[in-house]
Symmetry: C2
Subunit: 185 residues, 2 copies
Protein backbone atom coordinates (compact mmCIF):
# COMPACT_ATOMS: atom_id res chain seq x y z
CA UNK A 1 0.00 0.00 0.00
CA UNK A 2 1.73 3.20 -1.15
CA UNK A 3 1.66 6.30 0.97
CA UNK A 4 0.11 8.36 -1.81
CA UNK A 5 -2.79 6.17 -2.85
CA UNK A 6 -6.06 8.01 -2.65
CA UNK A 7 -7.26 5.92 0.28
CA UNK A 8 -8.63 7.56 3.41
CA UNK A 9 -5.74 6.46 5.67
CA UNK A 10 -3.15 7.72 3.20
CA UNK A 11 -4.98 11.02 2.73
CA UNK A 12 -5.25 11.42 6.50
CA UNK A 13 -1.53 10.80 6.95
CA UNK A 14 -0.65 13.32 4.27
CA UNK A 15 -3.10 15.92 5.61
CA UNK A 16 -1.87 15.46 9.17
CA UNK A 17 1.78 15.89 8.22
CA UNK A 18 0.96 18.97 6.12
CA UNK A 19 -0.88 20.57 9.03
CA UNK A 20 1.78 19.65 11.60
CA UNK A 21 4.44 21.27 9.41
CA UNK A 22 2.31 24.33 8.64
CA UNK A 23 0.93 25.16 12.07
CA UNK A 24 2.58 22.80 14.56
CA UNK A 25 1.55 19.48 16.08
CA UNK A 26 0.03 20.93 19.26
CA UNK A 27 -2.11 23.44 17.37
CA UNK A 28 -3.61 20.85 15.01
CA UNK A 29 -6.91 19.12 15.82
CA UNK A 30 -8.29 15.83 14.53
CA UNK A 31 -11.22 17.82 13.07
CA UNK A 32 -8.81 19.91 10.98
CA UNK A 33 -6.96 16.81 9.74
CA UNK A 34 -10.21 15.10 8.76
CA UNK A 35 -11.45 18.22 7.00
CA UNK A 36 -8.21 18.62 5.04
CA UNK A 37 -8.40 14.95 4.01
CA UNK A 38 -12.05 15.28 3.03
CA UNK A 39 -13.33 12.71 5.52
CA UNK A 40 -15.16 12.80 8.84
CA UNK A 41 -13.53 12.68 12.28
CA UNK A 42 -15.26 9.32 12.68
CA UNK A 43 -13.26 8.02 9.70
CA UNK A 44 -10.09 9.39 11.28
CA UNK A 45 -10.70 7.37 14.42
CA UNK A 46 -11.43 4.24 12.39
CA UNK A 47 -7.82 4.40 11.20
CA UNK A 48 -5.87 6.01 14.05
CA UNK A 49 -6.16 6.09 17.84
CA UNK A 50 -5.23 9.78 18.05
CA UNK A 51 -3.41 12.55 16.21
CA UNK A 52 -0.08 11.29 17.49
CA UNK A 53 -0.47 7.81 16.05
CA UNK A 54 -0.92 9.18 12.50
CA UNK A 55 2.80 9.89 12.57
CA UNK A 56 3.69 6.36 13.65
CA UNK A 57 1.47 4.17 11.49
CA UNK A 58 4.39 3.79 9.08
CA UNK A 59 6.52 2.22 11.82
CA UNK A 60 4.34 -0.88 11.80
CA UNK A 61 4.74 -1.25 8.04
CA UNK A 62 8.48 -0.68 8.47
CA UNK A 63 8.51 -3.47 11.07
CA UNK A 64 6.77 -5.87 8.68
CA UNK A 65 9.21 -4.98 5.90
CA UNK A 66 12.21 -5.50 8.15
CA UNK A 67 10.92 -8.84 9.43
CA UNK A 68 10.26 -9.96 5.86
CA UNK A 69 13.82 -8.93 4.92
CA UNK A 70 15.15 -10.89 7.89
CA UNK A 71 13.13 -13.98 7.01
CA UNK A 72 14.30 -13.79 3.38
CA UNK A 73 18.01 -13.78 4.30
CA UNK A 74 19.79 -17.01 3.27
CA UNK A 75 19.50 -19.82 5.83
CA UNK A 76 23.28 -19.83 6.29
CA UNK A 77 23.50 -16.12 7.05
CA UNK A 78 24.76 -15.24 10.53
CA UNK A 79 22.63 -13.10 12.87
CA UNK A 80 24.24 -9.80 11.86
CA UNK A 81 24.07 -10.63 8.15
CA UNK A 82 20.37 -11.36 8.59
CA UNK A 83 19.93 -8.04 10.39
CA UNK A 84 21.76 -6.36 7.49
CA UNK A 85 19.13 -7.87 5.16
CA UNK A 86 16.43 -6.34 7.39
CA UNK A 87 18.16 -2.95 7.09
CA UNK A 88 18.21 -3.31 3.29
CA UNK A 89 14.47 -3.97 3.41
CA UNK A 90 14.00 -0.87 5.58
CA UNK A 91 15.92 1.18 3.05
CA UNK A 92 13.73 -0.20 0.28
CA UNK A 93 10.64 0.96 2.14
CA UNK A 94 11.89 4.38 3.29
CA UNK A 95 14.58 5.25 0.79
CA UNK A 96 12.48 6.77 -1.97
CA UNK A 97 10.88 9.52 0.04
CA UNK A 98 13.47 11.73 1.67
CA UNK A 99 11.19 14.80 1.62
CA UNK A 100 8.53 12.97 3.62
CA UNK A 101 11.09 11.66 6.13
CA UNK A 102 12.51 15.15 6.60
CA UNK A 103 9.11 16.73 7.24
CA UNK A 104 8.13 13.96 9.65
CA UNK A 105 11.43 14.29 11.49
CA UNK A 106 11.07 18.08 11.84
CA UNK A 107 7.63 17.60 13.43
CA UNK A 108 8.88 14.93 15.83
CA UNK A 109 12.02 16.89 16.76
CA UNK A 110 9.88 19.87 17.83
CA UNK A 111 7.82 17.95 20.41
CA UNK A 112 9.12 16.10 23.47
CA UNK A 113 6.17 13.69 23.62
CA UNK A 114 6.68 12.73 19.97
CA UNK A 115 10.40 12.25 20.49
CA UNK A 116 9.64 9.87 23.34
CA UNK A 117 7.07 8.02 21.24
CA UNK A 118 9.65 7.60 18.48
CA UNK A 119 12.14 6.12 20.96
CA UNK A 120 9.53 3.67 22.21
CA UNK A 121 8.64 2.60 18.67
CA UNK A 122 12.34 2.02 17.94
CA UNK A 123 12.65 -0.10 21.09
CA UNK A 124 9.67 -2.19 19.98
CA UNK A 125 11.27 -2.54 16.56
CA UNK A 126 14.40 -3.87 18.28
CA UNK A 127 12.25 -6.35 20.24
CA UNK A 128 10.58 -7.65 17.06
CA UNK A 129 13.88 -7.88 15.29
CA UNK A 130 15.38 -9.85 18.21
CA UNK A 131 12.44 -12.26 18.04
CA UNK A 132 12.97 -12.60 14.29
CA UNK A 133 16.65 -13.43 14.85
CA UNK A 134 15.69 -16.01 17.51
CA UNK A 135 13.21 -17.52 15.03
CA UNK A 136 16.14 -18.03 12.66
CA UNK A 137 17.82 -20.21 15.29
CA UNK A 138 20.18 -17.77 17.05
CA UNK A 139 19.59 -17.80 20.82
CA UNK A 140 19.90 -14.90 23.26
CA UNK A 141 21.99 -12.98 24.14
CA UNK A 142 23.38 -12.99 20.57
CA UNK A 143 19.91 -12.47 19.05
CA UNK A 144 19.18 -9.45 21.22
CA UNK A 145 22.62 -7.96 20.69
CA UNK A 146 22.41 -8.38 16.91
CA UNK A 147 18.99 -6.68 16.89
CA UNK A 148 20.13 -3.84 19.16
CA UNK A 149 23.21 -3.23 17.05
CA UNK A 150 21.01 -3.31 13.95
CA UNK A 151 18.65 -0.69 15.35
CA UNK A 152 21.59 1.46 16.47
CA UNK A 153 22.94 1.28 12.91
CA UNK A 154 19.50 2.03 11.48
CA UNK A 155 18.89 5.06 13.71
CA UNK A 156 22.34 6.52 13.19
CA UNK A 157 22.33 5.95 9.43
CA UNK A 158 18.77 7.12 8.95
CA UNK A 159 19.47 10.36 10.84
CA UNK A 160 22.55 10.93 8.73
CA UNK A 161 20.52 10.36 5.56
CA UNK A 162 17.73 12.72 6.63
CA UNK A 163 20.12 15.46 7.81
CA UNK A 164 22.65 15.05 5.01
CA UNK A 165 22.76 16.53 1.50
CA UNK A 166 20.15 15.30 -0.99
CA UNK A 167 20.55 12.39 -3.28
CA UNK A 168 22.25 9.88 -1.00
CA UNK A 169 21.13 6.30 -1.19
CA UNK A 170 19.68 5.15 2.14
CA UNK A 171 20.68 1.51 1.74
CA UNK A 172 24.24 2.64 1.03
CA UNK A 173 24.24 4.91 4.09
CA UNK A 174 22.99 2.03 6.27
CA UNK A 175 25.66 -0.30 4.87
CA UNK A 176 28.28 2.36 5.62
CA UNK A 177 27.00 2.66 9.19
CA UNK A 178 27.25 -1.09 9.64
CA UNK A 179 30.78 -1.01 8.24
CA UNK A 180 31.61 1.75 10.73
CA UNK A 181 30.46 -0.47 13.60
CA UNK A 182 32.67 -3.24 12.21
CA UNK A 183 35.50 -0.71 12.09
CA UNK A 184 34.98 0.20 15.74
CA UNK A 185 35.29 -3.42 16.80
Amino acid sequence: MGRWEPDAAGRLRAAALDLYVEQGFEQTTVAQIAERAGVTARTFFRHFADKREVLFAGTEVLEQEMLAGLAAAPAGAGPLEAVAAALDAAAGFLGDNLAHSRRRRSVIAANAELRERELIKMARLADSLAQGVRDRGTPDPEARLAAEVGIAVFRTGFERWVDGPDGGDLSEVLRESLAQVRGLI
Copy 2:
Protein backbone atom coordinates in the same frame (compact mmCIF):
# COMPACT_ATOMS: atom_id res chain seq x y z
CA MET B 1 26.48 9.24 48.07
CA GLY B 2 25.47 5.67 48.93
CA ARG B 3 21.92 4.51 48.46
CA TRP B 4 21.59 3.48 52.11
CA GLU B 5 22.76 6.61 53.89
CA PRO B 6 20.20 7.85 56.36
CA ASP B 7 19.47 10.96 54.29
CA ALA B 8 15.93 11.92 53.35
CA ALA B 9 16.36 11.23 49.64
CA GLY B 10 17.83 7.79 50.30
CA ARG B 11 15.10 6.94 52.83
CA LEU B 12 12.45 8.10 50.35
CA ARG B 13 13.92 5.93 47.58
CA ALA B 14 14.01 2.88 49.85
CA ALA B 15 10.48 3.51 51.18
CA ALA B 16 9.08 4.02 47.67
CA LEU B 17 10.61 0.80 46.33
CA ASP B 18 9.37 -1.16 49.36
CA LEU B 19 5.84 0.14 48.85
CA TYR B 20 5.88 -0.41 45.07
CA VAL B 21 6.94 -4.03 45.61
CA GLU B 22 4.47 -4.60 48.46
CA GLN B 23 1.33 -3.02 47.03
CA GLY B 24 2.10 -1.97 43.44
CA PHE B 25 3.24 1.29 41.87
CA GLU B 26 -0.24 2.50 40.92
CA GLN B 27 -1.64 1.91 44.40
CA THR B 28 1.10 3.84 46.18
CA THR B 29 0.73 7.54 46.99
CA VAL B 30 3.39 10.15 47.71
CA ALA B 31 1.82 10.58 51.17
CA GLN B 32 2.42 6.89 51.93
CA ILE B 33 6.02 7.06 50.75
CA ALA B 34 6.73 10.16 52.84
CA GLU B 35 5.11 8.57 55.90
CA ARG B 36 7.12 5.36 55.53
CA ALA B 37 10.31 7.43 55.20
CA GLY B 38 9.40 9.57 58.21
CA VAL B 39 9.31 12.85 56.30
CA THR B 40 6.63 15.17 54.98
CA ALA B 41 5.22 15.15 51.45
CA ARG B 42 6.80 18.59 51.09
CA THR B 43 10.21 17.01 51.67
CA PHE B 44 9.38 14.37 49.07
CA PHE B 45 8.72 17.04 46.46
CA ARG B 46 11.93 18.84 47.36
CA HIS B 47 13.80 15.75 46.13
CA PHE B 48 11.60 14.26 43.40
CA ALA B 49 9.17 15.61 40.83
CA ASP B 50 6.71 12.75 41.32
CA LYS B 51 6.44 9.16 42.48
CA ARG B 52 7.73 7.92 39.15
CA GLU B 53 10.98 9.87 39.31
CA VAL B 54 11.96 8.24 42.62
CA LEU B 55 12.69 5.12 40.59
CA PHE B 56 14.90 6.98 38.12
CA ALA B 57 17.00 9.24 40.32
CA GLY B 58 19.72 6.58 40.23
CA THR B 59 19.96 6.87 36.45
CA GLU B 60 21.45 10.33 36.76
CA VAL B 61 24.10 9.07 39.16
CA LEU B 62 24.73 6.16 36.81
CA GLU B 63 25.21 8.66 33.98
CA GLN B 64 27.77 10.62 36.00
CA GLU B 65 29.62 7.43 36.87
CA MET B 66 29.71 6.29 33.26
CA LEU B 67 30.90 9.68 32.02
CA ALA B 68 33.62 9.70 34.67
CA GLY B 69 34.68 6.20 33.56
CA LEU B 70 34.77 7.39 29.95
CA ALA B 71 36.83 10.45 30.81
CA ALA B 72 39.28 8.33 32.84
CA ALA B 73 39.99 5.94 29.95
CA PRO B 74 43.58 6.31 28.61
CA ALA B 75 43.97 9.04 25.99
CA GLY B 76 45.01 6.49 23.39
CA ALA B 77 41.92 4.27 23.89
CA GLY B 78 39.63 3.94 20.87
CA PRO B 79 35.97 4.92 21.13
CA LEU B 80 34.75 1.43 21.97
CA GLU B 81 37.51 0.87 24.52
CA ALA B 82 36.50 4.13 26.17
CA VAL B 83 32.87 2.99 26.19
CA ALA B 84 34.02 -0.28 27.77
CA ALA B 85 35.59 1.79 30.56
CA ALA B 86 32.23 3.51 31.03
CA LEU B 87 30.56 0.09 31.31
CA ASP B 88 33.11 -0.93 33.95
CA ALA B 89 32.23 2.20 35.89
CA ALA B 90 28.51 1.35 35.58
CA ALA B 91 29.23 -2.11 36.94
CA GLY B 92 31.11 -0.56 39.84
CA PHE B 93 28.10 1.57 40.68
CA LEU B 94 25.37 -1.07 40.21
CA GLY B 95 27.16 -4.34 40.71
CA ASP B 96 27.00 -4.63 44.50
CA ASN B 97 23.25 -4.51 44.85
CA LEU B 98 21.58 -7.22 42.81
CA ALA B 99 18.61 -7.45 45.20
CA HIS B 100 17.82 -3.77 44.72
CA SER B 101 18.13 -4.02 40.94
CA ARG B 102 15.84 -7.04 40.89
CA ARG B 103 13.15 -5.35 42.94
CA ARG B 104 13.35 -2.17 40.88
CA ARG B 105 13.15 -4.18 37.66
CA SER B 106 10.08 -6.10 38.85
CA VAL B 107 8.28 -2.82 39.57
CA ILE B 108 9.19 -1.33 36.21
CA ALA B 109 8.31 -4.50 34.28
CA ALA B 110 4.79 -4.42 35.73
CA ASN B 111 3.91 -0.94 34.46
CA ALA B 112 3.87 0.22 30.82
CA GLU B 113 4.50 3.86 31.69
CA LEU B 114 7.54 2.93 33.77
CA ARG B 115 8.88 0.69 31.01
CA GLU B 116 8.63 3.62 28.60
CA ARG B 117 10.33 5.94 31.07
CA GLU B 118 13.17 3.44 31.42
CA LEU B 119 13.62 3.34 27.63
CA ILE B 120 13.74 7.12 27.48
CA LYS B 121 16.31 7.29 30.27
CA MET B 122 18.45 4.74 28.43
CA ALA B 123 18.21 6.82 25.24
CA ARG B 124 19.35 9.90 27.17
CA LEU B 125 22.19 7.87 28.61
CA ALA B 126 23.22 6.95 25.04
CA ASP B 127 23.09 10.65 24.08
CA SER B 128 25.34 11.64 27.01
CA LEU B 129 27.74 8.83 26.27
CA ALA B 130 27.92 9.88 22.60
CA GLN B 131 28.74 13.43 23.70
CA GLY B 132 31.42 12.06 26.02
CA VAL B 133 32.98 10.09 23.15
CA ARG B 134 32.90 13.20 20.94
CA ASP B 135 34.60 15.14 23.74
CA ARG B 136 37.42 12.59 23.57
CA GLY B 137 38.00 13.54 19.93
CA THR B 138 36.01 10.90 18.02
CA PRO B 139 33.55 12.55 15.60
CA ASP B 140 30.11 11.33 14.56
CA PRO B 141 28.91 8.93 13.28
CA GLU B 142 31.54 6.78 15.06
CA ALA B 143 30.88 8.49 18.42
CA ARG B 144 27.15 7.86 18.24
CA LEU B 145 27.57 4.29 17.04
CA ALA B 146 30.06 3.49 19.81
CA ALA B 147 27.67 4.92 22.41
CA GLU B 148 24.65 3.09 21.00
CA VAL B 149 26.54 -0.19 20.88
CA GLY B 150 27.71 0.45 24.46
CA ILE B 151 24.15 1.00 25.68
CA ALA B 152 22.94 -2.08 23.79
CA VAL B 153 25.67 -4.08 25.54
CA PHE B 154 24.79 -2.51 28.88
CA ARG B 155 21.05 -3.22 28.59
CA THR B 156 21.51 -6.78 27.38
CA GLY B 157 24.17 -7.61 29.95
CA PHE B 158 22.38 -5.91 32.82
CA GLU B 159 19.16 -7.81 32.06
CA ARG B 160 21.08 -11.06 31.94
CA TRP B 161 22.68 -10.25 35.30
CA VAL B 162 19.37 -9.33 36.94
CA ASP B 163 17.52 -12.35 35.54
CA GLY B 164 20.36 -14.83 35.94
CA PRO B 165 21.43 -16.91 38.94
CA ASP B 166 22.91 -15.07 41.93
CA GLY B 167 26.52 -14.32 42.45
CA GLY B 168 27.56 -13.30 38.95
CA ASP B 169 29.88 -10.36 38.59
CA LEU B 170 28.21 -7.54 36.64
CA SER B 171 31.42 -6.17 35.16
CA GLU B 172 32.25 -9.66 33.92
CA VAL B 173 28.78 -10.06 32.40
CA LEU B 174 29.13 -6.71 30.62
CA ARG B 175 32.56 -7.66 29.29
CA GLU B 176 31.11 -10.94 28.04
CA SER B 177 28.31 -9.05 26.27
CA LEU B 178 30.82 -6.79 24.59
CA ALA B 179 32.83 -9.85 23.54
CA GLN B 180 29.64 -11.34 22.09
CA VAL B 181 29.13 -8.21 19.97
CA ARG B 182 32.72 -8.57 18.76
CA GLY B 183 31.94 -12.20 17.98
CA LEU B 184 28.91 -11.19 15.90
CA ILE B 185 31.01 -8.86 13.78
